[in-house]
Amino acid sequence: MLLLTRHNAESIIIGDDISIKILKIEGNHVVLGITAPRSISVHREEVYLAIKNENTNSSAVPLNAISSLNEILKKNAK
């Protein structure tokens, strides 16, 4: 992990197109401003990991589970 020290209002640039600026330091939290190209997503890490995990579980749902669910839904609709 690269360690850099920044003061308030200073920035970091990643590659040619991503920059992170420290906008506010207050107590034990920091407000960051992030600029990145449209194709790069930026998320709070714990949120990203939770959603990635859920997406991964969803991508592993087998076809027949959805077929079973489909049957249940059809029955309920009647």
Binding site: R38, S39, Y48, E54, N55, S67
Partner: protein, 160 residues
Amino acid sequence: MARKSQPNNVEVKLRTDRFGEIITRKENIIEFPEGIIGFSTYHQYVIVPHDGSNSLLYWLQSIDEPNLAFPITSPTLFKSDFKLDLSPDDQSKLKINEKTEIQVLTILSIPSGQPQFMTLNLQAPIVMNCNERLAKQIILSGPDYPLQFKVALNALANQA
């Protein structure tokens, strides 16, 4: 009526693990500039109904990876009061204005072998700009948008 330009009508053949070879039109391809969260290298998908034209359940099938598909549905089918809260940043990324036709989809999950316990990911729904065929998995926060919304299957909100 606008003349459809030739390239979008072109038929595209896709290899998929779940459905074998499917044929769709280029205009049905949906572009995800950021990909799906955790799957950032895949940007192009098509929506495949699970069960013919009256299907309530669909799959978001990757064009580039035959094995990758997410089961999806419309959140309002299962939670009639689901309201989308689109941030200005997401609106801009999706090129959405008041005239844009949008569609909201949610990825569902099923605990192993128990379809009756399906959940919907309301925290990270997919918003699509239908005019541009552009989409993004957005992140919502707050108690109205749980990651695993438990669906009461016997209380199906309404039939599309």
